[in-house]
């Protein structure tokens, strides 16, 4: 990364911005007015002329796109339109198109509002349709009060009244008209009978007829809405390419015209500072000189690694590129820091495979990653699916090694330690080798953590200077010594399978044998080395144990997934399907179908769990146990000025 300072007179502002935008390699460092030394008198620039009209046009394009339901991200890039043709089409077609789309949209909205209103009327009128009265007879009396509403049961009134009751509608319906002077009595009676009044609609004529009229109106309006929608879809099909191209062209223009807001300017000149990949400096300088006819000053400024926020662009082989997403989720590496992406891209799938080592689940996830890749678009999604693809391939490989297929054994013995549990009495081979597997996972932990500490030393040299760097390096060596010292001491006291047995050495002092004594020296030396950097770090010493033991999850989570798969198989096949197949009965068919449902649902559930467990736990082992040993992160994304043009060209 190189830091460039570009200065020119203000009349070169537009060609410079245009060239920077076109080249798409210059990461602008925003100028902030804070009266820094050397920047007195500089102010933030003003947008280029015409910025507000272009912004308005962008708004118009976006509102049209949203009215038509166009999502530019989901549109496949087709043939590119040239900016010239596009601009002339914007001048000639824009207003008409806007008017058409706007008109159609307003028409549709208006009809939709009316439909809603009419549907409300219909629901209000519905109860009255059961009463044989015209709607005008419900109101307009001087000396009569009318009540209408729902009531749990019929009631009798002691005062003179006219009443209609029906139980043919849900909640029953009661209409009663009484002289106004008896109003209070009737209200009291109705209240006791749990009467719920409904508002009397302002309508005339029979309720049934009105309902029929409104219904026909709603049908008619809905048909009109359908046809308007169809016309909008026609418009969408016809103009999507044009609108996304306009969006791109105008967005580019807005970004260009607002670029001076990120520059430092004086009355007559401007200064742009930013970052370019070192190999592109010469090319960019040449093209800028050409664009301005040489009236420009370009200087490569020396980088101050401690103060400058240097943007970071990943430089990884294609294989590791999807993993950059996992790195960004944690934090992008700093500029001078070691980039562990490649390491993660190799180790993450291995951990995933160790946990979910099953040919069947691996195949399901592999198919899923390809299937979703067809459906979903977008850079981050693609990276995620590529990571899933790598992980599921690793899962298949480990499935072959473990000899597992959705919980069943494949027709060969496991090449590595067996995870076949004894569930339902169908154990094959020599049963699960849990202890051995657990110790292997601890070994993986020991090596991974040691690797982390070694990287910690490398990183310290890269990030810090002088005595601080040395101290951090020694502290990291101290952590390694402490861990291995503890390990040697354990080995010299207890014989553990798959680990060196050091119990045979002669005892030298305090009941410790030679190996244990050496281990103790390592531990003490290590603790001193840790303490010299920062004594507070000493409280972290127990994490040596907990972080290494945490790798046991590679086996524990994996075994739980195997157990679920085997239990599902046992319930579905062993308990439900097999007994029915032996004695075939009509009722047995139902049980067999139930067994199939259990089988499918169970394995679906376990696939989801396996994906979550395998993914999250592998990720966590990296984030918590591995990265905390050496990784700082906090790098800023390299975001060059300009855009990848998908729909337009010059």
């Amino acid at each position: 990364m190189s830091r460039l300072l570009i200065a020119a007179s203000k009349d070169q502002l537009e060609p410079v911005i245009r060239e920077l935008y076109r080249s798409h390699v210059f990461h602008i460092e925003d100028f902030v007015e804070q009266k820094e030394e050397g920047y007195e008198g500089f102010r933030i620039g003003m947008p280029l002329a015409g910025a507000d009209s272009v912004s308005r046009d962008v708004l118009r394009v976006r509102s049209m796109s949203s009215a038509l339901g166009i999502d530019p991200g989901a549109v496949e890039a087709g043939a590119k339109t040239s900016s010239q043709t596009l601009r002339s089409r914007i001048d000639s077609e824009f207003s008409t198109l806007e008017k058409e789309i706007g008109g159609l949209n307003t028409d549709r909205n208006k009809r939709e509002t009316t439909v809603r209103e009419y549907e409300q009327r219909i629901s209000e009128l519905k109860p009255f349709a059961s009463a044989p009265l015209d709607m005008d007879l419900y109101r307009g009396y001087d000396r009569l009060s009318v009540f209408a509403g729902h009531i749990p049961g019929d009631v009798t009134f002691t005062v003179p009244h006219e009443k209609f009751f029906t139980d043919t509608v849900p909640g029953n319906f009661l209409v009663v008209a009484v002289p106004s002077e008896n109003r209070d009595d009737v209200e009291q009676t109705l209240l006791e009978a749990r009467f719920q009044a409904v508002p009397i609609p302002e309508e005339t004529g029979s309720a049934t007829e009105r309902v029929a009229w409104y219904t026909s109106e709603v049908t008619r309006l809905n048909a009109e809405i359908e046809s308007i929608s169809a016309r909008l879809i026609e418009k969408k099909d016809a103009h999507t390419a044009f609108l996304v191209a306009c969006d791109e062209l105008l967005t580019a223009e807005v970004e260009r015209s607002e670029a001076p807001l990120r520059f430092a300017t004086t009355e007559e000149t401007f200064v742009a500072e930013g970052w370019v990949l070192s190999e592109q400096v010469a090319e960019l300088s040449d093209s800028l000189r050409k664009a301005t006819g040489g009236k420009i000053f370009i200087n490569e400024v020396e980088i101050d690694y401690d103060r400058d926020a240097i943007p970071v662009k990943y430089d990884n082989p294609a294989f590791a590129r999807p993993t950059e997403l996992l790195m960004d989720v944690y934090s992008r590496p700093r500029y001078r820091e070691l980039d562990p992406t490649l390491m993660v891209s190799i180790v993450f799938p291995i951990f995933f495979g160790l946990i979910l080592g099953d040919v069947g689940y691996g195949l399901i996830l592999l198919l899923m990653s390809f299937g979703l890749g067809k459906l979903l678009k977008g850079e981050a999604v693609g990276q995620l699916l590529d990571t899933l693809r790598n992980a599921s391939v690793s899962s298949i490989i480990f499935g072959i090694l473990y000899s597992e297929f959705i919980g069943y054994a494949l027709p060969w013995k496991p090449f590595i330690f067996s995870r076949h549990l004894n569930i339902g009495g169908h154990s094959t081979g020599h049963g699960p080798q849990v202890i051995e597997l657990m110790i292997v996972s601890i070994w993986i932990g020991i090596l991974h953590v040691t690797l982390g500490r070694v990287l910690g030393m490398v990183n310290a040299r890269k990030l810090y200077h002088g005595s601080h760097a040395t101290k951090v390096v020694i502290a990291n060596a101290g952590w390694i010594a402490t861990m291995w010292g503890i390990l040697v001491m354990i080995w010299s006291m207890f014989p553990i399978p798959v680990m060196p047995d050091l119990t045979g050495f002669p005892v030298v002092a305090l009941g410790l044998n030679a190996a244990a004594a050496l281990g103790a020296v390592f531990v003490i030396g290590g603790i001193v080395a840790i303490g010299q950097e920062n004594a507070l770090e000493l409280v972290e010493i127990p994490t040596i144990l907990s972080h290494v033991l945490s790798y046991a999850r590679l086996v524990a989570v994996g075994l739980s997934s195997v157990a679920i798969a085997m239990v599902v198989n046992f319930i579905a096949i062993g308990m439900l399907i097999e007994p029915q197949l032996e004695q075939f009965t009509p009722f047995g068919v139902v049980i067999i179908i139930a067994g199939l449902v259990v089988f499918l649902l169970g394995h679906l559930f376990n696939t989801a769990l396996g994906l979550l467990g395998g993914g999250l736990h592998s990720l966590r082992l990296h984030y918590v146990e591995f990265f905390t040993k050496f990784y700082k992160g906090g790098g800023q994304k390299f975001n060059p000025f300009g855009m990848k043009r998908r729909f337009t060209e010059d």
Partner: protein, 82 residues
Amino acid sequence: MAVETMTVEVATASAMGLKALGAGLAVGLTGIATAIAEMTIGPAAVGATAENKDMFGMALLFTVIPETIVIFGLVVALLLLF
């Protein structure tokens, strides 16, 4: 109530039963412990992520830290059973 004779089979079976009980307790209790620990981290993590999407990685990290407790429980259970 008849006094049951303590045969070898009965003794092994009851030892196995107690092991299974212990394993169940190890997973269950550590699961509850993890849940209690994550109970306060979870909402804070969700809140932080809602405020600032860049926090997602860190939030996930903090949320899964107590998972170690239940993993230890699972390890103990597996060691007991096999």
